[in-house]
């Protein structure tokens, strides 16, 4: 029934979950392997499609000393992997009132001073399961370039692997969400269409037409619907 569990006929491989050896089907995701082995996940499992960042995972393969990182729902198992999850990481998040912040470097100096301790080691970038240029957006912020930081961090799913690996103890993903919020609120250009529509709604321009639709019988509203013109793609 679950989509991530491969068919039982699949070839089996062995690996280690929290140091214990299990046999799981080849081609499983790490999450699928945990469940196949009998784990009932509570923490460390979320959207199962790579969007929520709940299933941050660290692992190692036997012939390599390096600790690797990934999302359990997106990473396919290899023979003799050593798997562990990071169910929670006590990362720092500043509290702020966005209305009172300035979109400038001084904001970051004040509320995330550790940002400026970045030693450019690039460990965060290597840890990112989204392949984002994490160090580059941190460096952009250090230069005060909020727009670039917002752009480079846009696909961040806030899994926390960068922060877990950072020797300067920066919480990159929380810094980045602030950068994007400042950009979205203060720096991005605002168009006219939205404001004029809001004004029209406030002036009740559409109330009557919608009221009429609400009271039409099914056949009349159907007719209206099927003759409406459709804008070209």
């Amino acid at each position: 029934m679950e989509e991530k569990t491969p068919s039982p006929k699949a070839k089996m491989i062995s690996l280690y979950i929290m140091g214990k050896r299990y046999e799981v089907p080849e081609g499983s995701t790490i999450m699928g392997a945990l469940e196949y082995a009998g784990y009932q996940l509570k923490r460390g499992c979320g959207c199962r499609e790579g969007f929520c960042g709940a299933c941050a995972t660290v692992y190692r393969t036997t012939d390599d000393y390096k600790i690797k990182t990934g999302l359990a729902c997106q990473t396919v198992v290899e023979p003799n992997m050593y798997l562990a999850q990071i169910p929670f990481f006590p990362a720092n998040k500043a509290l702020y009132d966005l209305d009172e912040l300035e979109p400038s470097i001084s904001t970051f100096q004040e509320i995330y001073p550790e940002l400026f301790r970045c030693v450019s080691c690039n460990t965060c970038t290597k840890a990112c399961p989204q392949d984002l240029e994490v160090m580059d957006y941190i460096q952009a912020l250090i230069r005060g370039d909020i727009a670039q930081a917002a752009d480079l961090s846009f696909d961040c799913i806030m899994c926390g692997l960068c922060a877990a690996r950072c020797p300067a103890e920066i919480v990159q993903y929380n810094v980045a969400v602030l950068a994007r919020r400042l950009y979205g609120k203060y720096l991005s250009k605002k168009g006219e269409y939205l404001e004029s529509r809001l004004k029209e709604i406030k002036e009740h321009k559409y109330d009557k037409e919608i009221e009429e639709f609400m009271h039409m019988d099914k056949e009349s509203i159907k007719k209206k619907y099927y003759v409406r013109d459709i804008e070209k793609m």
Binding site: K4, P6, C47, A54, K93
Partner: protein, 555 residues
């Protein structure tokens, strides 16, 4: 890389591509949209809802005698997790103005607006705040903002998409609040896709007659949810978040009002009582029930908990006979089976084609119509592509996107899609995606009015758990809109209500009454609900767990 046995079909897709591209660029419709009668025919013959065993009559509760989706009926005809006699109702663990059950977009928005309106709020959520379908929405949010569009046209589109069954007052709220929601989100710092004038980039969604789809690349839901979560966390003095603690029953008082809920701490296995003057159910949908054994796009926690809570307390359900199957779920590679391929892929010009490379349906029909026509192509017409595991799908010809919108369009506007397939060595800028409908959305739910009130005093619902606004079929981009519009409205209404309410003596009599109804209807089952989490342990492992104790699906 697709396997050898698919190559012949892939060549045919490539062969027909130039001709299809030409038509697409000409501005003509690439395929004639269906008439009302054609829609009706393909739906009744091929939509899974219309199969003989899809629905059954529910035997207890406010909707007794109505036909509803089988898996939902089974869930509702289950026992409570608790015996009310075990509870000391004089021991209240938390007291608050507003309790929000669910930490997705609807719940977060409700909490923020309740706070703005003077309430102290508790958010109780099963997993983490933000672990929700809200986070996963890719394609966009509808709002009639462009000069050639209007809330009235949006109203008409939503109504036609829902087969004219939508509740009018809810649709009015949806379309009239939509521009306001975009403004609110932008003020909170959500980065929408914009053109050089600062106006929003808008696209055409399935079943829509205007370009109304606002997006944030293909991380629209994530972009919004990340911001809402961040903002909720900025107010710990007013909004307390209790994670890994799903609500398992509502509390009521002697006067028949809802008065909070009982939470279950998933880790310590304690039950916790929260007394609240207003309670908002924002628990999302039911994809993890795997209706008709479909794979799902849904979040791990999407197990219809809120329907159970509300129904046991006496709230009505609306349109629980209808299920949304998203037309484009991944079929290959097997590891991402059911994975959502955003509708934005089609709004940007990708076309569904069969194994001969033939376009067989207008690419942007409403979702149920589009899904049904995919199923027809794969079954009756036998023109699907069959995988080595026996699954079937049709091609979604994504390379067209770059031919229409220019090189780099996919990586720029569909980074999540590109990333996902790239992990399996498939380059969707050059090769199509193999897709089949996947279980996506709960169209119906708890019946509410435009203030998000259920018929039970002090009980509100918002977002996917509620029913009525989408009729029996939701359009793309109206769910992100839904949870924002109604989350906000629920928050405001609940906060105002909390200022007036006087709660009486607490009781769980409604649980006993429900249990009695089960007995009187002669229903014998060992199921309990809400199920909280699905269990994906294999039967072999379960058979060896000799001393494990399962409560429902949870060990």
């Amino acid at each position: 890389m697709y396997p050898e046995y698919m190559q012949e079909s892939l060549k045919l897709v490539e062969k027909t591509r130039p001709e299809r591209l030409k038509k697409s660029l000409s501005g003509e419709k690439v395929f004639t949209p269906m008439t009302d009668a054609e829609r009706g025919e393909v739906l009744t013959k091929f939509h899974p809802d219309y199969q003989a065993d899809a629905r059954r009559k529910i035997r207890i509760g406010p909707n007794r005698g109505e036909n509803i989706t089988l898996e939902v009926a089974d869930l509702l005809e289950s026992h409570s997790r608790i015996n009310p006699d075990d509870f000391d109702l004089s021991r209240v663990d938390y007291d608050t103005d507003v309790l929000v059950i669910g930490g997705g977009g609807g719940g977060a928005g409700a909490a923020l607006l309740a706070r703005e309106n003077g309430a102290k709020v508790i958010i109780a959520t099963k997993l983490r705040i933000g672990d929700a379908n809200s986070m996963m929405s890719q394609g966009g949010i509808q709002a009639s903002v462009n000069p050639n569009d209007s809330p009235a046209i949006h109203y008409l589109d939503a109504l036609g998409g829902g087969h004219f069954d939508n509740k009018p007052d809810l649709v009015r709220a949806l379309v009239m609040d939509a521009p306001l929601v975009i403004k609110w989100l932008e003020e909170l710092g959500v980065m929408f896709d914009k053109d050089s004038n600062g106006n929003m980039v808008t696209m055409l969604g399935g079943g829509c007659s205007r370009k109304r789809m606002h997006s944030a690349r293909d991380y629209t839901g994530a972009a919004i949810m990340r911001v809402l979560r961040d903002e909720v966390k900025n107010h710990p003095e007013d909004i307390q978040v209790i994670e890994f603690s799903p609500a398992i029953e509502l509390l009521m008082d002697e006067g028949g009002q809802v008065a909070g809920a009982i939470l279950y701490n998933l880790e310590t296995e304690e039950y916790i009582m929260v007394r609240a003057k207003s309670t908002i159910i924002a628990t999302g949908g039911f994809g993890r029930l795997h209706i008709k054994e479909f794979a799902t796009t849904n979040h791990y926690g999407a197990t219809a908990d809120g329907l159970v809570l509300g129904y046991r307390a006496g709230a009505n359900l609306l349109y629980m006979d209808s299920v949304q199957y998203h037309p484009t779920g991944a079929v290959y590679p097997e590891q991402i089976l059911g994975f959502l391929i955003t509708e934005k892929v089609r709004t940007m010009g990708a076309q569904p084609v069969n194994k001969f490379g033939e376009l067989f349906v207008f690419p942007l029909e409403p979702r149920d119509v589009e899904s049904s026509s995919f199923i027809r192509e794969c079954t009756e017409r036998g023109k699907g592509i069959i995988t080595h595991t026996g699954r079937v799908g049709i091609w979604l010809d994504s390379p067209l996107i770059e031919l229409i919108n220019g090189e780099g369009a996919i990586q720029k506007q569909l980074p999540a899609m590109y990333r996902q397939y790239n992990r399996f060595d498939i380059d969707i800028t050059k090769e199509p995606m193999l897709v089949f409908p996947t279980l996506h959305y709960q169209n119906g739910g708890l019946e509410i009015n435009d203030q998000c009130e259920t018929k039970i005093p002090n009980l509100y619902a918002a977002g996917e758990v509620s029913g009525g606004v989408h009729g029996r079929n939701r359009l793309m981009g109206n769910s992100v809109l839904d949870y924002n519009v109604f989350g906000r409205r629920a928050g405001i209404a609940a906060a105002l209500n909390a200022k007036e309410v006087k709660l009486g003596k607490l009781t769980l009599k409604h649980i006993k009454r429900y249990e009695r109804e089960l007995q009187e209807a002669d229903i014998h089952t060992d199921k309990i609900s809400p199920m909280l989490l699905p269990n994906y342990t294999t039967p072999e492992v379960r058979a060896r767990q000799l001393t494990a104790h399962y409560e429902g699906t949870l060990r």
